[in-house]
Each structure stands twice: as C-alpha cells, then as structure tokens.
Point group: C2
Chain length 231, copies 2
DNA sequence: GCACTCGATATTGTCAACAATAAGTCCGTA
DNA sequence: TACGGACTTATTGTTGACAATATCGAGTGC
C-alpha cells in the first residue's frame, strides 16, 4: 500500500484479478519470463511482498503455482530460486516439443475445418507482409512464430496438450531466450517450413503434417545446439 | 493435534517430511489417486485442516501444488474440487502419452547400455513368472505394467519427460482407473508387445522402438475407447 | 404453489504476529 | 592469517484472527 515506488508495476498483465495470489502469480511469471527476475536468483518473500504490496500468505501461494509451472525451484527452509535452464535442459524441452507439436499438428490436420485453414493462411500471409515490410529479421522476435504454433495447438482440440505446451514449456523456452539473449535467426527457412505445414493440414494429410512439424522443430533444435556449440 | 480421530491416517506415505505443506501435499495426492477423495468432490479447507491437524496456511499451499499437478481445480472464492476426468479428457491424455512415451522409447534405445537392457529383461521375466504363478490377470493390477514404462522413461535420460509423465499424467490416469473402476484386461497381448519393445531397444533400433511403443499405447487407448463405448 | 429477497451461516481470502531454521558477523584461538 | 564457534540478523514456516464472498434457508409477496 505504502511502497508503490519504482518497481511495483512489473507488468501490465491482469492488474485486476479476483484474488491477490492469482494476480501476483501472473505478475511474477511475466517478470521471470521477461528476464526482470534473473534466472538462478533468489525469490525473496519479504522483498516481493513489499514490492507488490501484499502479505506473504498469497505471495507464497503464488510461488507454489510458479513451482507447478517449473519456473521456480523451492528448497525447504531455504526458499525459492528462479529456474535457470542449462544447455541440456533446453534440449530436453525441445525433444518434448518435437513429440508434442508433431502430435498437435496431426490432430489439427485431422480436425481442422476449411475455416480453420483459412485462419492459418491469414496468419502466415500477415506475417509474410510483416517480413517484407520490416526486412525479415523481426519475424521471430515479434513472436509471429509462436502465434503460428499456438494456433495449430489450439486447432488440435486437445486442451491438455495446449496447457502443457503453452502454459508450461513455452514459458520456459521464452525464459531461455532471454537468459542467453539468443536471437533465433533462420526466418526464411522456418517460414517456408510453415507454409509446407499448412499445405499438409489443408490437404488433410495428417501423417505428413506431423512429420513436417517434427522436422521443423528438430531443425530449430539443431540450430540451437550449433549455436550453443559456437559460444 | 486433538482430533486425530478416525480419518486422520489417510495414507502412509511420508509422514515425516520437512515441511507441513509438502507433507500434506503428498498425503492428499495419494488420497486423491487412491480414490479416497472422490473425483468432483469439494476440497473443504476447514475440514482438511482439522483432519490433518495443520492450519489453513500450509494446507492452501498444498492445494496450490495439487492445482499444479492438475489434480484439483480451483475456482476463486468458491474453492477447489478434485478433478474428474471424462471420456474425452482421458483420451487426450492417452494421445499425449502416445507421443511422449514413443519419444522416451526412442531415447532409451539410443542411450541404453547393455546393463540397462539387462534390467529391462529382468523386469519382464520377473513379471512373466508372476503372471504364470498368479494366472495372468494380475499383471496390470499390480502395476507391473507401469514399472516397465517407468523404467523406460528413466532410461530415456530426459528428466523433464520423466516429470511430465510420471509426476503428472500417470497420477491422472491412475485416478481415472479408480474413478471408473476399470480393470485393464489385455495382459498377454500387452506382454508380448513389451517383449518386442525390449528387443528393439536391445538392438539399438530407436525408430522401431519408438514405433512399437506408440502402437502399444495406441492399442491401450483403443481398448479403453471400446470399453467406454460398451458402458 | 412459486419466485424472490433478505438474513444467517459457512467457506474462502488476507493479514500480521510468532516460531523455527538458515545465513551472516564478530570474536577468539591456534 | 586461517579456522571455528557463539551471537545476531534475516528469511522461511506456521498459526490464529479478521474481512470478504458465497451458500443455504426462511420468510414474504404474488
């Protein structure tokens, strides 16, 4: 209440939630994903409770939710630390993504209506225009890539799949990008792959769609590994 | 402290944890998975805090962890309810299992040492003896099936994969079995499939291992669907 | 008899204080 | 100077009380 000072407005997301715990959960989560809370650092309860102007009760509930999302690690009697992903852990996540998004793509191809396909096409052409007007490099950085993947996962119709990918793994990957300040840079290639994937979905070729998505993410993984090897 | 009466000992798991919240989290989780807390029912905080002899603070943290495992659903200002899986939600989980365990199997085939393969063989032969001595039907019910899958996931070496499958999805499936009191009944067929999988892993044929595992779980899914259609 | 409102009760959300554990500091000794 | 131990401080764990919201039931009007 009193110390609304400088760092209180960490993010704009959902300032008016129904409960303080959920509210501050969202705020801290975006703070972590944006890199404002640096990976590996300690999550100090008294400090955060002052910062957000709430008591430690709901704050601890929020931290427990963050633990569930695997964004912090809690050690009993010591406290929580913001997760820090190393090289192999990131590769692990990409392996899982490969399997799950391949599945999502197959399901999407099976279930998608012409209207859905139209939305996918629209998304791609919108991104294409953006690329042309902004000289290409911003496709990934503006997360147009993620938009595309989000939509396919939604089209899969598997709600739990959406939760695992979009509510858990993607946040972790976003964190990693901030952590290593890595700029994914293979826009035109990825863009071509995206078009192939939509083609397969439109043709209702589920197996091909799954294969293409798997290869798409596998390529991203290999790019990441090479990038890590260089550094 | 005072009301240790009848329903206090809900489970035997981990009575001496380091913190009350973690302790009661484990207890409630097993209670849910065992069906002692029936799916869909309300999670009453005052009642549970009396039952476990703790205050509502750590209890609420435990509930938030359960929310993270997707074992309860929390509605603001209303409370938590034990999750209840319907038919389609269960199929969703099986779809995810199919993708993830297929991945696990491929990784296991790539990384497994001869010693690992030996352990797998031992597990299978041990189960085989058990089947012969107990007339078959108990293989699944004693969770020998899960032992097998657990071991392969461990051999995959992907820690996050292990977490997602063994710490989250499996608990949900176990809950569903209790909920519908369904007894998986295709022991000899599944057993044959298990043997094939180990063969592939031993031969370092990662693609085949992945394929077989995917089919193995796909069969289980189809069996489940048929079973549900009958009822 | 039915629907609606209002009040009583129970449950959830939040807080501030206390207890227990860990971390840091200062001091003495070898 | 380096090491170890007691003391101090800070942080986490836990509790009970209070506030806010939702649920249930009785009573009233139609």
């Amino acid at each position: 209440m009193k110390t609304e000072s400088l760092s209180n407005r960490v993010s704009k997301t959902s300032s008016a939630s129904t409960t303080l715990a959920d509210n501050v959960f969202n705020q801290i989560r975006t703070a972590i994903v944006k890199g404002e809370l640096i990976p590996g650092s300690k999550v100090n309860e008294p400090q955060l409770s002052r910062q957000y102007g709430i008591s430690r009760g709901p704050l601890r509930e929020a931290i427990r939710r963050l633990e569930g999302c695997k964004l912090v690690e809690i050690t009993p009697h010591i406290g929580a630390n913001v997760i820090s992903l190393n090289r192999s852990q990131t590769i692990e996540i990409y392996e899982i993504r490969e399997a799950l998004e391949s599945l999502a793509c197959r399901l999407a191809a099976e279930k998608s209506t012409p209207k859905d396909c139209h939305k996918l096409r629209e998304l791609l052409t919108a991104h294409e225009k953006q690329i042309q007007s902004e000289n290409g490099q911003l496709y990934y950085q503006k997360e147009g890539d993620l938009d595309f993947h989000y939509l396919i996962i939604q089209l899969s119709g598997n709600a739990r799949l959406f939760t695992i990918l979009c509510e858990e793994l993607y946040h972790l990957l976003r964190l990693y990008r901030v952590q290593t300040s890595s700029k994914p840079s293979r826009p035109e290639r990825a863009f071509h792959e995206h078009h192939q994937i939509v083609d397969a979905i439109e043709n209702k070729d589920a197996e091909l769609a799954a294969l293409l998505m798997r290869r798409h993410i596998s390529n991203a993984r290999k790019t990441l590994i090479n990038q890590l090897d260089i550094e």
